[in-house]
Symmetry: D2
Subunit: 253 residues, 4 copies
């Protein structure tokens, strides 16, 4: 069938919910400006397809195409920069239920564009949602990493850590990616001599990308239905006002 | 009041659920055998107190007290080791809704005991739960890190990555810890000259430990009520049988 | 004495060489544009002072003040960018015997400016020196890291790894830094209420910065006197031409 | 020719020194006990061959075969452990000019045996050599990493950082390794259907292992000829006695 469904899919679909009210944002941190081909984009396509197939509204931003300032404030034009495109990207982050960070690997690390993205997400850590929690509470995060030789897990560690640190929830197996054998070589999606495309037949990569995408949908569905993470024990303002949420305070000192 | 509750707590408690059916397991990866004092244990106490105060059943294991083999199989006595205490610790991991890994920092890294724990958790990655998902699906994970000079975030990256990789869900801000200023110095809980104890008055550490604990409870509650992570798009057996869960398979190749 | 020398210094100075022909370059990867105060700069001052006191010619670049493109080529204006200040910074890197990378810590990681620096250094990995070795062979590298709460070692791992990967030699203890106790707080060099400045009296930080600086001088001296790393077994061109340098080739396959 | 030498080798050998007085120690941190096959051992063989071919005396230790205690003291039998084989391994580390750490990758990290090795090396950080420097000064370090899917660079970052932190010098490109394409698959040295062995024909891996080995020899030769790292500006005892080595002390405070 055109969309790859099989009878197995029908049998398995008992657990499917309705995802049509969810929004997902992909931020691709490739170093290549458009219209250059990003190998990371090619793998993001897989996740994007699955999300849209299930009614999730998706959007994609290639960070390097925008004039995003370096810094740790929400709007760097207030801190000495002539221009800063981050505020308009932030409005997309703010409304998305799911954020999927895509990044290439350079020298075993996430790209400098990805580092800039993390810094700019972090710059919103003083903001609160309507329940008094950090602004990212109630959102779900994941990441997709591509390189030609090494580093998916290391990069995912950094990216996923940053996402959960600012307030994203992470479902199981929230990362996926592709790398080739040690050494220089083709990148994800490059044409092979046999007409196939590199990594497209890598069962591990395709399965993990699929599982990640579904787990992000499941977690986002759960959180949206619950109205986010329950607001008890995790509101900085309440803590600052002296609320201790069963912390063993008096005995402890 | 004896347990540190204030009026603020009462106001804030509207979001509290019942947590009495939840179990939490702390695994402390200190290098010190009992009865040596573990600074990490002292910070685990805070989280443990909050959990018990809310009816969660808790248990603590100090890994180095047990004769746990190195290796990547569930029972290393089947692979050339004379003895292996892991299987009996595994049964505790298997029944716990929440796993909190505690580890000290050595040279900026998690301890070798923590590395061994991660390897042994990973050794169960071929097992499935009753829904055909990885055995850890439906569980919630977090970590607590202490050191005297540096490395909480780096260690948390490694530990949290490993937990989500095998199948744990991570709520927002699933880590907490304490370190002192750069250089050698006292460790968490050491007696100070003024009679106080190091780190006990560190608002950041105490708040993060509290928030982490509550977020773990919230996520575990949510997952238990939902019967775990929904079983669609994340079952390795179904994937191996050809089910593709809207992966853009035919067009993709 | 004005420069802090003591009789002990005189006794110890037997091992001192002449360093007047050496050049050192500091690249500060703060996110703050000039004339904003960089805490990292304040610690770089210590190392800079020691180098100059011994006749080493030093220079400092604040990367964020320059219009450096993202990318992995030596000159990004040849790859779709309107401008790129990297080539003029590269000429400084190319002539410096010692490179000291300074970076702040954000979310436990090196800054995005530092990530960009690493990518641009890496972009020269296809170039060779006059002996046919990678262009960075014969140079010595180190790093200085400051943050207010955590991550010196993690950041140093990333930076030092990248430096040795492209071809820098690393002496023992090639990193130094300062962080405060867990949680937000003052940064290196901030004025304290007692009139002192944060971290200036941290013996560990000051000692490590001193030792690092001397070890960089020792290694650079050694390498300069030896004409760099000996050219045998490490020339990519020779390898590509079939030279195997005692690699157990025939038996091995 | 039997040892793979070619005319090119003869041309290139002008820079060769005599290495017959050097000792190198390989510590393999596989989780597999002897006589199990370690894929890492298979790659260590390449480096070992090159060293011996040049007269370097080599020795190999498989850590997991020994009853090495966890802990951060030189002899853990003085700290509550019944036995500890580390002291006898330490004597080998102490006399080796070159240490090459071999480790597999598990979940993107170095093995728990490798973590234990690093902790035990670190346990000697209070010891000094005859010049009053840290005991590891004057030695040269490197690492070799194998896995079947990902993580050479991440693991090398951790291992190399630890080595330079305790006092090893690192030459350029002090690491080498092999990993396959993303996902499970054969490991280094496994037999392929075509009779070849996995990774043996990976030019990148073989070249890097060769270059690493030569760079370790060059650095060890240089350091041995110089009597180690010059003893000025890097002796903890002198620092503690008030010697400041041109640190801008008085003006600085």
């Amino acid at each position: 069938m055109a969309n790859g469904k099989t009878d197995n899919d029908n049998n398995a679909s008992s657990a499917k919910s309705n995802y049509k009210d969810l929004c997902a944002l992909f931020i691709n941190c490739t170093l290549k400006k458009s219209p250059g081909t990003s190998h990371t984009d090619t793998l993001l396509d897989v996740s994007d397809h699955i999300l849209r197939e299930n009614g999730v509204k998706t959007e994609r931003v290639r960070l390097v195409d925008h004039d995003v300032a370096s810094g740790v404030y929400p709007d760097m034009t207030e801190h000495g920069w002539d221009s800063d495109d981050w505020p308009k990207i932030w409005s997309k982050v703010d409304t998305a239920d799911i954020l999927i960070v895509g990044t290439p690997i350079w020298l075993g690390q996430h790209s400098s564009e990805c580092a800039k993205l993390i810094e700019r997400l972090y710059s919103h850590s003083s903001q609160r949602n309507e329940k008094g929690q950090y602004i990212f509470y109630g959102k779900t995060g994941g990441c997709i990493v591509t390189g030609n030789e090494d580093g998916v897990k290391h990069v995912a560690m950094s990216v996923l850590y940053s996402l959960q640190h600012v307030g994203y929830a992470l479902p199981p197996q929230a990362d996926a990616g592709w790398i080739g054998e040690a050494g220089p070589g083709p990148s994800y999606g490059d044409k092979r001599e046999d007409g196939g495309r590199v990594g497209f037949d890598n069962d591990f990569t395709q399965r993990n990308t699929t599982f990640m995408t579904w787990n992000l949908m499941h977690m986002a569905r759960m959180l949206k239905d619950a109205g986010g993470i329950p607001a008890h024990g995790n509101q900085p303002g309440e803590w600052d006002d002296g609320c201790r949420f069963d912390h063993p305070n008096p005995e402890y000192r």
